[in-house]
Amino acid sequence: MRGLPWPAKVYLIIVIGAAFALIGHDLVAPGQQDAFAQWDTLMVLALLFLLCESLPTLLNIDQVAVSMSFSAALAAVVLVGPEGAAVVGMTAVLSVRPGLALVKRLFNGAQFAICSYSAGQVFVWLGGRSGVPGVDGFEGLILPFAGAAAVFVPLNFLLTATMLWLADGLRADQIPISGMAQFLVSYLGYATFGLLIAGLWATVETISVVLVLLPLFVARWGFGQYHAQQRSYDATIAALCQAVETKDYYTRGHCTRVSLASTMIAQEIGMRSERLRAIRYAGMLHDVGKLGVPTKVLQKEGKLTEEEFAAIQLHPMRGLEIVRGIDFLDEAFAGIMHHHERHDGKGYPMGLAADEIPEFARVIAVADAFDSMTSDRSYRKAKPIETALAELRKGAGTQFDPLMVSAFIKVIDRDGWDPPRTAPADPVERSETVSKDHDDPTTPIQVVSER
């Protein structure tokens, strides 16, 4: 508790106090003890709640762990009433999740108790009768239950978000809105499991819990596998792209940095999470086709012949040829193929202009040029970020899409640019230096006309 700022401490004490007040009030109030008469049901639900609370599931949202305990709390609302539900919620204090600080346990227990109690009150207020519903009483259960869930979810979210805000200074704009919507929807989905448990209780009691939760635990396992594969995949694609780059010492790490910068721009212009993923990979893979360009062309000092320049211009097509077999990259293909088009239509390979250029390609073009300017080259040192941004601004409207440039400048101004640097490997043994960089807008490749 020592680490918390004082407003968070005050808030914590208020929340815990409120939880105790709610439960204490009902213990002394006459006629309320019936809820605790069903202590066996209460025990089963509390155990279930604890089990779920100790095994949080990472769903498809990265930032938030969702636990199925929520379903158990809502089932308790129906089966043992508001007071019982509050007691069930409180057992979160005993969660066996490792590494959970006492303060967090206390807070979780208190806030679950408050949420469950409030949801229970709404349930009763909407005409729900607490207790095991009869076999034919299911239809009367639906509306009050929906009301209870509609109170539980936002309240739970509000209490937790306030704590995060007070304790860590989490700003509202750091919470992605689309992720939030997804989060709420999946939470409401979980609510139906509570309904199922409650509805089936009359028939098979505790077995209903097993039957409802088994598919969920399998789903949890499936999501776990998915996340593991996803991480492994990201690491693999990065390593392979870097392997392609080992050909040139100076461009080492270029792909991961372009990928990062592209993602920053894409986020700034409000792309959705699926497209963000695609552009991350597109940025990573945008130069794999460079391997198809003969090394002697890349290493040549001075001006290039038209034929040699044509070989360089072919690399986006070569890249496309390599990655075409990967299914999900539909939009990324366009980004890879057109990342050297220019806003004024003088780029390659197709000479598209302005809006004809796919959005992905316009994003990658900016990120690509920026990273090239801010990295060391054999013929010059890295430029400072400000100079590079000024260059981008200068090229906006001719080489680059002004929209992407301004988005990039905005995001760099706000978050800074601090990409992970790859460890410098031995430059003598494994790589060769290239005397020109086709990505660098300040040193354009010079072509001698053969005519």
């Binding site: 076999v135 989905g189 199922l196 077995i207 969920l216 693999t236 990065a238 050909k247 070569r318 494994r430």
Partner: protein
Amino acid sequence: MTVVGRRAATPAVKALATLDSSQLLLICAAGIAAVAGIAYTTAVGLLDSEVAVGFGVLIAAGELARLTMPGNREVAPIGSAAALGYTLLLDMGGHPLRHPALQVIAVLAVGMIAGALPHLAVGRPPRLDAMARRLLTGALLAFAFRPLAEPLHALTPSSRGSWLPALGVMAVLICAMLFVDVVIAAMLRVEQVRTAFRVAVRDELRMAVPLGAAVAASGMLLALASHSMGMVALLVFAAPLLVTQVAFRKYAGIRATYLQTVRALARVTEVAGYVEPGHSRRVSRLSVAVARELGMAEPELLELEYAALMHDIGQLSLRDPIPGGATVLTDPEQARRIAELGAEVIRQTGVLEGVAEIVRRQCDAVSEGPPLASRIIRTANAYDDLVGGSTDRDRAGAALERLRVGAGSEYDPVVVEAMSRVIDRRTPGHRL
């Protein structure tokens, strides 16, 4: 015996022609069951038609949302769970249901066909063998359980009993059905990819257990929920399984993308002109076929496939690539260095340790005791260097002769013999 496609004219004919004999047998059996079920039901009339239609719609929806798991296994969890639920149904909101097994099969068949039609309309022909398997196992369970429905219902609390006997019978029969399903799947797999039956059963079991558990639980849930909730159960029950389905779809998606990406990026060595076009793909196919012949299970097969695809990736780190690639004709020291560099690249991923080790030891002599996967890749790589993309029998025979000369020192004799069996079996058009 294998039936192999010979210049099929239309996609439908082609789909039929690529089926092997056990698949055809399975499809015929399922077809007979479906026809019998539908004929009987039309003759006798549909009992409790509302319930039948409700479940039929859910089966169709599940079939529509089918997904392909790693290893090209088609599953339809929601459809299977709905089929289970309809089979196990004892009553609906207290009203006892007495639909016979043949009606279950009819509902199953009609629902599955209805769910497959939209896929067909957009040009995705159904995997007939997978559908037939689902229908047949569903039919088996129906024949086993439906006759018991009435006595079991008499034991339930609606007539002063307990649900436990019914639940126990359901659980036992479902387990038996899942086991039969695994065995059928393994038998199909043996013929399809040429692996040992024992290995195939283990592979299928590994794939089937998680999804099977979820489907079984949901099916029983549906049957029980119908007792207290009536038809509403059909709507709410699907929620837990829907989450499972989403998880598995994502998992299957990333697995497929992973393989495609490794295949694509392994080709950079070809685009850069270090190795012959198609070399890494051919080596990986041959390696996987040989490994199956030797009874390798799926998790190791995947590592082997990745390693075989990337076995030449070390070339990228060389200042001067060896023209024509690291062939059998290359100086052994050079080849060893490429292997080391390649392993280094793969180790950078931080996750593919096993693959890196296989690549690193691909040039080791048999006496140094490299892993089986490395021995297979070494042999397959040498074979492809000698033969390339050619399918000429004489050339293949000569290459095998040359490998036999090196067997014992450079190449593992067991691997060489397995490879000669694989190549002998290979005819143009044979699927691997």
